[in-house]
């Protein structure tokens, strides 16, 4: 009786348990249509449970905890997870009508989707740095399986590359975790609680600084690979381009955030120590490099999904840069940018998924005049791309502006190259957008033959796009005061 009452007191087991339990259930459901519905319903319930965290925050345990920093990422992950599951219902309906995916593959896809959500939520709410590592590894495994879903030559190469590069990255991150544990061991002693982050941060002053520095370098390379930082980004464009589009949306919008989050947790430990190497310059350097590499790569892209994958590298670089600069304002900007990028980039991938389905190609050169042939979709893409390129009044403009102005305040010389990088990327995106959105329309072979999709399918495709873009717009026009104070508190926490 008490146990069941406790279960309702604490939403965290629900947030983690719902996706975990539903994954095998979805794999067993005989009809894939039930699977799509189940996927949407479970994701909605998980979102509700995660909102419950605001009202009843559980106490920190040795394995799991919720604090000011991760609670908003948990809710963001659940939200994007839910909207993507809605979009995925529309996407899957079209794919299976075109019989590109078999029923068995679809069952597997839905199970993996929930397993993937579970690993991400576990990584975000992990207190033990070992559990954090296990969860990130699990997220890699589940996404590899989803990237290879289409089983084409390209998909298999992408999945293989992703798997090899990220496994090595993950291996190095484990070595880094081990070194951090050894640095902490004289103070924290043995046992499970020795790896609890919430205890480590209070004792971090007394850790061995040299071991921590060495460990952080491994962690930076390891989790940095997963964040998609240059020069370890080679897996990212392929994995985004060849997997199903809903997966590209969650990879870009959520998984990259999770890896960056893991890195930031360790950065906090290093900063709390005070004697170890200062992580700021490393993050600034890698972030800047990613920003530039990606910005120039944007020009040569011929594939629409790769284009936006490179744009994700650019934005992850910008966030890493902001957190590297540090200080309340730059951290605030980094956190805001994390949120805005998640919302806008996944909305863009939703558009791209529908475009690729109706145009029957992913080649940018073959996609023309979308605003004329499919006005609603075309204009959604225009709004999304303008938003991600950083035009006002969308939220991305706000966060990019804050990154630059806070950098100016601390070290003006750094702000100039960042501005340059952003302008280069902006011009590339606008050039590519112009061809796709305007001009005489190209034929849309994907739409010919067969019935038009039902109204429900259409709505399931568009509603997530509108929801994400309007939230980004709202954040750009007027950021709600509670959210601002929230971000400020977390920014202070990040140091």
């Amino acid at each position: 009786m008490i146990a069941s009452a406790d279960l309702f007191q604490d939403p965290l087991p629900w947030v983690l348990g719902l996706p975990l339990v539903s994954a095998p259930v979805l794999a067993l459901l005989p009809r894939w249509r039930w699977g799509t519905w189940g996927n949407v319903i479970i994701s909605a319930l998980t979102l509700l449970a995660s909102i419950g965290l605001f009202f009843r925050r559980p106490e920190a345990g040795p394995l799991l905890f919720i604090d000011d920093f991760n609670i908003y990422l948990v809710v963001l992950t659940c939200f994007v997870g839910f909207t993507t599951s809605v979009f995925s219902a529309a996407y899957i309906a079209r794919e299976s009508k075109a019989s590109r995916l078999k029923p068995l593959q679809l069952r597997f896809y839905h199970a993996m989707y929930q397993a993937f959500l579970f690993t991400m939520l576990l990584a975000l709410s992990a207190n033990n740095i070992g559990v954090l590592w296990v969860a990130v590894e699990g997220a890699t495994l589940t996404t590899v399986l989803m990237v290879s879903l289409y089983r084409t030559r390209e998909a298999i190469e992408a999945a293989w590359k992703y798997f090899i590069l990220c496994s090595v990255g993950i291996g190095l991150a484990l070595f880094g975790t081990l070194l951090i544990y050894l640095a902490a061991q004289p103070v924290m002693h043995d046992g499970m609680s020795a790896m609890a982050w919430s205890r480590m941060i209070t004792q971090a002053k007394n850790f061995q600084p040299e071991l921590m520095s060495l460990g952080f370098v491994f962690l930076l390379v390891g989790y940095g690979t997963k964040t998609g930082l240059a020069p370890m980004h080679a897996w990212l464009p392929d994995a985004h381009a060849e997997g199903p589009t809903p997966i590209s949306a969650v990879l870009s919008g959520l998984l990259l955030n999770v890896a960056l989050y893991a890195l930031l947790r360790f950065k906090m430990l290093i900063s709390a120590n005070g004697h170890a190497l200062s992580p700021g310059p490393l993050l600034v350097g890698l972030g800047m490099l990613s920003l530039f590499v990606a910005a120039f790569m944007l020009y040569r892209r011929g594939d629409i999904k790769r284009l936006f994958a490179y744009s994700s590298i650019e934005h992850m670089g910008l966030m890493t840069f902001a957190f590297g600069v540090g200080g309340p304002l730059a951290n605030f900007a980094g956190l805001l940018h994390m949120t805005m990028h998640s919302l806008v980039k996944s909305a863009i991938f939703f558009c791209v998924g529908m475009i690729a389905q109706s145009a029957g190609t992913k080649r940018i050169a073959d996609i023309r005049g979308l605003t004329a042939s499919r006005p609603l979709l075309g204009w959604s893409l225009v709004v999304g791309v303008l938003a991600i390129a950083g035009l006002p009044p969308m939220g991305v403009f706000m966060s990019e502006f804050l990154v630059i102005s806070s950098t100016f305040a601390r070290s003006p010389l750094l702000a100039l190259p960042v501005m340059l990088g952003l302008i280069v990327a902006f011009a590339a995106l606008i050039t590519k957008l112009q061809g796709m959105a305007f001009g005489p329309p190209s034929p849309l072979p994907g739409l010919e033959g067969g019935k038009a999709p039902s109204r429900a399918t259409r709505a399931a495709g568009y509603v997530p796009i509108f929801a994400h873009l309007s939230l980004a717009l709202l954040a750009g026009i007027m950021l709600p005061a509670p959210l601002v104070s929230w971000f400020q508190a977390v920014a202070k926490l990040l140091g």
């Binding site: 030559r153 190469e157 090899i164 291996g171 070595f175 050894l182 043995d190 381009a241």
Partner: protein, 222 residues
């Protein structure tokens, strides 16, 4: 005091054996020999874990030792041999960098890890210091193998050698919670099944497991 010296020397010896096998992997020219060397490395790792369990009085490490022995030392090599036979993979190892230069690079990496680890661990116990340096060497050698071998199976073996190095470090770290070891072993298991699927898919689509075939497709050079 003499017991402690003995405990330390033995741990050192076993760790060095794991490292030796790491070098062994680099100079084998035949696929079957690579897999056998990997099996021996896994068994040496198992001995290292068992010895650490004994001297640290940490019985849970025996579990790690058992997993290393039965799963990584016996089951995985057997499965790999079967795959090589079944798929008719080249029996000789194809290298991207010659054996000689690879060995030189390997020696350099070991020196690098000693230079990196020993100065920063002055306060830690001697056991931890040495085992950490050995572990890092094995990790870097595994990485080197992944870079310099072109065939998918040898690349996978390189990755598993890297994991052996990680485990060697983890068992040497005194009192590290069990979660990590089991999870690592478990993830190797998962990874292995995954590899199996991968091999079959690659086999379905390509006539060779040579990754150079994959590289014909390099994104969108349209």
């Amino acid at each position: 005091m003499r017991w402690e010296a003995f405990a330390y020397d033995t741990a050192h010896l076993i760790g060095a054996t794991v490292l030796m096998m790491g070098f062994g992997l680099l100079y084998q020219r035949r696929m079957a020999a690579v897999i056998r060397t990997y099996a021996m490395q896994a068994m040496a790792l198992s001995a290292a874990a068992a010895w650490q369990a004994h001297i640290q009085d940490a019985p849970h490490l025996y579990v790690t030792a058992a997993i290393a022995l039965f799963f990584k030392g016996i089951a995985v090599p057997a499965a790999l041999q079967w795959l090589v036979r079944k798929l008719g993979i080249h029996r000789t190892v194809e290298t991207a960098l010659g054996i000689g230069p690879t060995m030189v690079a390997g020696v350099g990496l070991v020196a690098l890890s000693i230079v990196l680890v020993l100065p920063v661990t002055e306060n830690a116990g001697a056991l931890t210091r040495e085992s950490l340096a050995l572990a890092m060497s094995v990790v870097l050698l595994g990485l080197l193998m992944m870079i310099t071998r072109r065939n998918a199976v040898t690349q996978v073996v390189g990755f598993m050698a890297l994991e052996n190095g990680l485990l060697l470090g983890a068992v040497g770290a005194k009192g590290m919670p069990l979660v990590v070891e089991i999870s690592v072993a478990f993830s190797v298991l998962v990874a292995m099944t995954l590899f199996g699927i991968f091999f079959f898919r690659i086999r379905e689509r390509f006539d060779s497991l040579d990754l150079a075939y994959l590289e014909t497709y390099r994104g969108d050079r349209s």
